[in-house]
């Protein structure tokens, strides 16, 4: 694994906007960054990233089954009791998942370590699946990378396959925070994949979802919502006014309700308890667990519910070396053994390993000047060289 400085394509911004990637720059700072790329050996991809991603998905599924059989775990995860049966029913039915992203600490030496799992509302999907592939094609043409270069990336095909399996030709509603450019772009891309899978699609704002007196959810034209993709976290939905109608509604959701269990940092200590010393896991404990003291004075403190690094605190030798603010933490925290992100040319680097349609299928690389990865962290392309 290497960071290779390279020249930008002079026209990449125009190309990005032409294909709808309008959030390539956020708050006047680059989000897409092709002044360098990450080069991996094929063995690093297959042995250290692809296989562990499949293993992590398997462990997470074992955890879901265990949680649904043990109400102590459901309470530990702060999942409201009125949703337990609904979540369990979704698991028992086998409601399918479309995708998820495992964030990994990896530097090319030793096993990748799970930092967290974005199981419910992962983003950075378009830039991973499409725009970095376009970069690879053109980087080969322009001699930026060798002609034999490749990329760990079948995410686009997996998403279409996933929609084909999930949708079975039905109408799909996609809902989210459509006033946010990134979320709207993500919805547009996933809608596009669904259309290629033969689904009839409609996109709407979360606030525009209607509820009929009998509890059914409908769109702005009062058409029933039978199948809905939501780019909106379960932990928010279950606590909002319509949340109480979720268990009785006939809508099939993507991601499914059982992902409520996995979209929770509490899975980190639970996985460590179920699979102690697994090479792809870091020691982790609930913050109020006496065993957390075994981590000593250096750890990462993470809220059960958090996204984009919010309310994460890195503590080294008892001193906070980095912390990001935010609205999370009311439900409690976990402590995870500190595993500093590797630095390449002064940048902290984290890998996002994608799992879609039942298999590992792609990689995104993010960089930041800070050791906590945030929404503004830059996305860099990668290539398999040799």
């Amino acid at each position: 694994m290497q960071r290779v400085t390279c020249g930008e394509r002079p026209d990449w911004r125009e190309q990005a906007e032409k294909v709808g990637f309008v959030f390539h720059t956020i708050d006047d700072a680059p989000y897409w960054d092709e002044t360098a790329y990450y080069a991996f050996a094929l063995e690093e991809i297959e042995r250290d990233l692809e296989a562990p991603t499949a293993a992590l998905d398997g462990m997470c599924r074992e955890l879901v089954a265990r949680a649904l059989a043990d109400e102590r775990i459901m309470r530990r995860l702060a999942i409201p009791v009125e949703y337990w049966n609904w979540i369990a029913a979704s698991w028992k039915r086998g409601d399918p998942s479309l995708y998820g992203r495992f964030d990994l600490r990896y530097d090319g030496q030793g096993p990748a370590k799970l930092l967290e799992y974005n199981a419910d509302t992962p983003t950075a999907v378009f830039e991973t699946a499409v725009f970095q592939w376009l970069w690879l094609e053109q980087a080969i043409e322009r001699g930026i990378v060798p002609k034999s270069a490749d990329q760990y990336n079948s995410l686009h095909e997996c998403l279409i396959d996933g929609w084909r399996t999930i949708g079975r030709g039905r109408r799909l509603h996609l809902a989210g925070a459509i006033d946010n450019p990134e979320d709207r772009g993500t919805l547009a891309y996933l809608e596009d994949c669904a259309r290629q899978a033969g689904l009839d699609t409609r996109v709407l704002a979360m606030a525009d979802i209607g509820r009929m007196p009998d509890g059914r959810f409908v769109d702005v034209g009062n058409a029933p919502i039978e199948l809905m993709f939501k780019l909106y976290p379960w932990e928010w939905m279950v606590r909002e006014p319509f949340g109480a109608s979720l268990p009785g509604a006939p809508t099939q959701f993507v991601e499914p309700p059982w992902k409520t269990i996995l979209a929770n940092k509490g899975i980190l200590p639970l996985l460590w308890d179920m699979f102690p010393r697994h090479p792809n896991l870091l020691p982790a404990y609930f913050d109020d667990d006496a065993a957390a003291a075994t981590l000593g004075a250096s750890y990462a403190k993470k809220p059960l519910y958090s996204r984009e690094g919010a309310n994460v605190e890195l503590v080294v030798s008892g001193a906070t070396i980095d912390a990001d603010g935010g609205p999370y933490g009311a439900e409690g925290y976990v402590r995870q053994a500190i595993a500093p992100l590797p630095q390449f040319s002064g940048n902290y680097t984290v890998l996002g390993a994608w799992f879609a349609a039942g298999k590992p299928c792609g990689l995104g690389v993010r960089e930041d000047m800070s050791p906590i990865t945030k929404n503004s962290s830059r996305f860099l392309p990668h290539a398999i060289i040799g």
Partner: protein
């Protein structure tokens, strides 16, 4: 995992026709285009989905202007109240406004 030429053909072939980038780039609303053959559009209108049309890109995309678009227009109702002319209430989701809901 599939790689190399097969991926390239799949992705790039699709990009040239109907997929993500190709679809986003052209992004014409097919229902609108079909309708326009019998019901001409008003001056200034076109069958391009408004999210990709000018103006809104850097400051948040504009609301859709065509009923046929999959980006449904808001009925403009407020939290928990019934929509005019229907028995559906709206606004019961989406309370975490502002930033991205993704992660």
């Amino acid at each position: 995992m599939k790689r190399s030429a097969q991926i390239g053909l799949l992705v790039m072939g699709a990009l040239g026709t109907t997929t993500a980038a190709g679809y986003m780039a052209t992004n014409r609303d097919q229902a609108c285009q079909a309708s326009a053959q019998t019901n001409p559009l008003a001056p200034g209108q076109e069958c391009r989905r408004s999210i990709w049309s000018g103006g809104g890109h850097s400051s948040g995309w504009s609301r859709p202007i065509f009923g046929g678009s999959s980006f449904a227009s808001s009925p403009g109702v407020t939290s928990g109240h019934a929509s005019p002319g229907s028995s559906a209430s709206r606004g019961g989701f989406g309370g975490h406004g502002g930033g991205s809901a993704g992660g």
